[in-house]
Symmetry: C2
Subunit: 127 residues, 2 copies
DNA sequence: TTCGATAACGATAATCGTTATCATTATCAT
DNA sequence: ATGATAATGATAACGATTATCGTTATCGAA
């Protein structure tokens, strides 16, 4: 049985209102002023729950996990310079799963793509 | 200045001779009988070094990092059932980087693809 | 509208993967 | 052979995440 909670709503709303793919800690510090009693454990708990409910997406970047409130299929780029994670929206999924299903002897359900390179800002400065 | 070491050779050879995308610990336990004095720190150290030398690939799966001695472009599938990571070889990369470069306002250098689903063995049993 | 079962919370200890430290050992140019 | 120092092994430290546990909040039933 699942109950309503202010904290879970706040965490979900916070994540959905931003596009920087925050870590659990980012969300925690972002909500702390509005909910001073908030515990970091609650953030982790609810992010896990929201993810297994399919309401948010977990992005596995090196070290710390990041989260995304946009559950429509899209890809990400991890910037070598600033460490940020950015959205890469592509018209279609390139038939990646279909092509993979042709060559892979198992059952493919989903996929994620992580590009590496430089984000817009960093590519102007550095690379 | 880089020096030769028995441990690094053993770690690299071990990784290249297997196709199960082992974790640092997997490699450690695999080599321990042959090199009883081997330290887990040495395995981590050398895996990091080999990776930054471009001799091996690090796969970011949930929680623990896995390694791959095959540096040719290919993708992976993480099995929902057994947790194993398997190779997915595809004829081409679907022009993924090229297509992404057209829509992304930055500089794309590389990419990784992680499929989720069931491996060959598990798809026969479960899914 | 209270009440009671229990989901969710906050605080914090514990766990796990990985990295840093440091004294010792091995490599290799001289 | 020798000396400088890269690499090692042992282990402490670290950062992210999960587990524990007593308390609080939710919500269906009385």
């Amino acid at each position: 049985m699942v109950r309503h909670s202010k904290q879970r709503d706040a965490i979900f709303d916070n994540l959905c209102s931003r596009y920087d793919h925050p870590t659990a800690e980012d969300i925690y510090f972002s909500l702390k002023p509005a909910i001073p009693a908030l515990s970091l454990a609650t953030v982790y708990r609810n992010l896990s729950q929201l993810e297994s409910d399919g309401k948010i997406i977990r992005i596995e970047s090196a070290g710390t996990a990041r989260y995304d409130g946009n559950i429509n299929l899209h890809y990400h780029l991890s910037c070598i310079n600033c460490g940020g994670v950015f959205d890469v929206f592509m018209d279609n999924d390139c038939g990646l799963c279909r092509k993979a299903s042709e060559v892979f002897n198992g059952k493919i359900i989903g996929h994620s793509v992580l590009f590496t390179g430089y984000c817009s800002a960093c590519s102007k400065q550095v690379g």
